[in-house]
Structures are given as structure tokens and as C-alpha cells.
Amino acid sequence: MSTDTASRRQERIDRGIKVRTAGLYALMSWREVSYLVLPRLVLIVGMLGLPMMMPGMYWKRVISIVCIYALLALVFDFLAHFVGLVSLGGAFFVGTGGYLSALLNTKLGLAPLICVPAATLLGGALCTLLLLPCLPLRGVYFAIVTLMYPLFLARVIEALNILGGTDGIMGIDSFPNAWIEQYLVIVLALLIVFGLRRLVNTDFGLVLRAVKDNDQAVKASAMNITYYKALAVWIAASIGCLAGACLVHIYMWAGISTFALDFSVLPIAATVIGGSGTLVGPLLGCLILVPVSELLRDFGTLRIVFYSLILLGFIVFRSEGLMVFGQRKYHQFERWTSI
């Protein structure tokens, strides 16, 4: 072996440099075009085809839940990696969006397809407003406040017995038909993945990344960082509320459990597994974690033990996340050369 490595060595080549540096070159050959398009196509076709591969109603529903969690994981990844705000607010956003959509539907009698966008906009604005006081601060405060609100709101609903109390709001309309119910969340998840990936590379997205990198320098650049943080939180909260609104119309019920901390914690685990900072990784992480958690239901109380072991395995052996690892392997290839 030693004589072997003396005469040759392994070199690593970055395959994607040409395609990724100059846009026009990418159109010069089918190979380059397919190099760019293929991974995206696999994701889109795969996501759209997924419900058809599922054996029954139960697993089709699981796919919808995957997408709901994927939206929340995207929110976490966007805020943590591109704005520098660690958010534990999944439950806060889902609960707010869910209850708003439920109220608009049951009290005002609006159709679900109107309730969902309305709850998205209203919820996003409401959550941003409630989170505004901690935005000028740096550090752990945002995480604490986003964790505090869902607990607070759930207890308020329980104690005052408002908004249906512990029974929740029942009799919420479902989406007009099964196709819309199934594909709305899938299409939304895909649109938001690609939309956010585009957003973080615009000049506006660059400012958000700069706030994460060095907020003092952004202040010295004559920009109000609280304003940019608020805009980012508004985008994130809207996406989270959208997830919540879709959830209550799928379950036709909104209750205190929409404020459950699962919605805060699972997206973070999914982001870690999928690869943070890629915005596709979180989606991939949810595609693994949510079905695994369903499969483990047969184990009863041992479910959490197995679940934790799987998480631990990922953290020990692939701490960078699947997508970061996958992207590197896709863009680079190794070969032996003689010296």
C-alpha cells in the first residue's frame, strides 16, 4: 500500500465550477443543463409523485404532515442560518395561524381557500407584532420569547375557556376536495423552498445574512437592523401560520395541541439531520423524521427511545447534515492520479 501511494495520489475536483460561475455557459451543453436541472427535477417530481406511491389514506395524510413540518423546518433554517435568530416558535406560528383560520371559517363562514391566505397574512403580522420587543436584542432572547408565547397562549385559552377551551374549535370545513387537500401543502412546500433559496441570494437576502454576520457593521452602513429583522420574522411567521392554517383544515379541528412543542422541536431536529443552511435539507429531514416517528408508533413508549437513538446516530455520524454532505459529493469527484 505504501509503494502504491508513493506513485499516485487521490485528487478532488470540483465539477460544478463552470456551471455555477457563469450563467450563460450552463446553456452550452445538455450535460451542463442536466447537471443543474436534475437534482431539482428529482425533488419536484419526487414530491408530486409521493402521494401516489403511498398505500392508503393514512400514509397520504402522513405526507401532508411531512409538508406541514417541512414548512416549519424551513422557517427555522431561514431564521437561524440567514438572519441569525434561533427560533423555537414553530408551535407559536402553527397555533396562531391555526386558530385564526379556524375562527375565520367558523365565525365568519369564509371558505377554507380564503381563510388560509387570510390567516397567513393576519397571523404573520400578529406574530411579528408580538415578537417586535425582543428584535433589537441580540442573543438568546428571541429563542426564549418564541418558546414562551405558545405555552402562554395555550394556558390562556385553557384557563379562560375561550376559543373552545380544552375541547378546541370543531366543525371546521375541510378543503373542497381530496386533491386540493393533498397537493396544496406539497406545492406550497416546493414553492417556498425555491422561493426562499432565491430570496436569500437577492440583495435583500444579503442584508439579512449580513445582520447575522455582523449587526454592528450593518448599523454603521446606515441601515435599521430592527426593521430588517422584523421583515424576516414577518416572512417566517407568515410561512409558519400558513402551515398552521393548512393543518387545521386537514384535521378539521383546532385545539390547544396546535401549540404543542412538537411543532417547535421536530423542525429543528429535521434541520440538523437534513443539513442547515441548505433550505432543502430541512424538507429532506422531515421526509425522514416524520414517517420514522409514525413507524415507531408500534413500539409504544419505547418510541421515543428509538427516535432519540436515530437522532443521535445522525448527529454522531453525519453532523453536517445529509444535504450538505450530498451537495459536496455531487459537486466534487475524486480520482487517482499518478505522480
Binding site: F204, R209, D213, Q216, A220, S221, A222
Partner: protein, 262 residues
Amino acid sequence: MTGEPILQVRDVTKTFGGIIALNRVSFDVFEGEILGIIGPNGSGKTTIVNCITGFVKASSGHVLFRGKDITGQPPHKIADLGVTRTFQIMRPYYSLPAYKNLVIPLFSPRARRTGGWRGGGRLGDRNTVGIDILEEIGFERDSYVPYKVTSSLPTGYLKRLELARCLALKPELIICDEVFSGLSMSEIASMVPLIERLQMDGITLIMIEHRLRELFQVAHRVMVLDFGQKLVEGSAEEVMADPRVREAYFGSEKVEEVMTHA
């Protein structure tokens, strides 16, 4: 001094708990000049920069920019008026390529209004304008340096990047907090004409420095701070001749040595 006072600092005091960092400091900066501020470590040089630019709030006293009171305004509002600063410990965006560092200030309302450095009221493509500014500040345009990730750049370029961020805002006043420190002699030698050129282009500069020889080359007037108080203000020769400065700043023998080198 010729020209109007562009910045007036009036009795600014800053206390951190029981420590008096600045004690009733007053001075004027005139349009188009370069004012040097020197003083031993801990004499309050950076604190005065922070008080002017709003990064800390002065305990009492006033700062007037073009006659308008800017005391207590947030940093981004003060920067929006054209009062910009560099940081002694460089604060670039390490994860971005060098030229993308300038896209951020060029995205600000002030840059859109003014067009950035040499923009003349119209802002072009932010990436191109960013690279133009980097070229003017000493980045080799046709090399890969402007495109490198900022974390891989040496100190000399990072100090220039600090200045470039100010230029992107089309500043009226730049407060340089030790832009020469940590640089080699040849790097400083190439920075000095750059500073002179900025002054010639009509920018007023305040330079906080420990490198006295280079500072005295460019500064029109020098102010000395010691223990948060203003000791003297005047030309380099006047300041160096002052016995209080000798005692407080240099120690009595060192003065001759510095003066002969200057």
C-alpha cells in the same frame, strides 16, 4: 481654521458605572480637514467615536453635525446623515465575498439617494459599483482578490474594506478608528496617499491613531486625550512641544526619539 465647523462636540461626558471614560470633552471639526486624535491606551479615543456615531449614548453633552443636534440618535440615522466610521477591530461580513460586503451599504437608503461613492445621484448595479469602490481603495480589480471570501483576506485588505464601507455611503465625515494599526510599514505607506486623496475629494476625516509619524504626515490638527480629558489641541508641532503631552503620553525621554523620526 478655514471653513465651517462640520462637527461640534460640546461637553460630552460618558461614565461607565463609576469610571469616567470621557470628561466634558469639547472640540470642533472643520469642513475638509483631517483631525488627528491621539492619547494613551484607555484615554477615551474609541469612546468618543462611539458617542459621536451613536453606538453608545453620551451621559451628558451634545454632538452637532452641521449645526443639527444628533445626540442620542441611533447609529443608522447618524450614518444616514453621512457621518460614517470604521471599527478598530474590523467588522466585515466574513462569510461573504469581499465585493458583496459593499452590496450591503449600497442597499441602504443613503446610498440609493446619493448613488454611493462617485455615483452622482444615480446608483448603478450594486456589484459593479462595489468592485469600482474596491478598486479605488486598493483592491486589484483583475485579480481574484475582490471575489475571495472575506475571512481569507489579510489584515491590510480588511482595513481597506472598512474604509470602502464608509465610501459606499458617500460620506461627508469619516471617523477612522486606528486604520493603520496592525499594518506593515509598506501597507501604511500605501494607505497614506489614499487618505490624502479622500481629503482632496472633499471628505472630512477624524483619525484616531497610535502611529504618530504617519498621522502627523496627514493630519492638519491634532488633539490629545488623556484619562478622558482633552489635554491640548493644535498643529503637530504645537502638540508635541507641549510639556503636558510629553508627560502624559510619551514619558519625557521618548519625545525626542519620536520627533526625530517624524
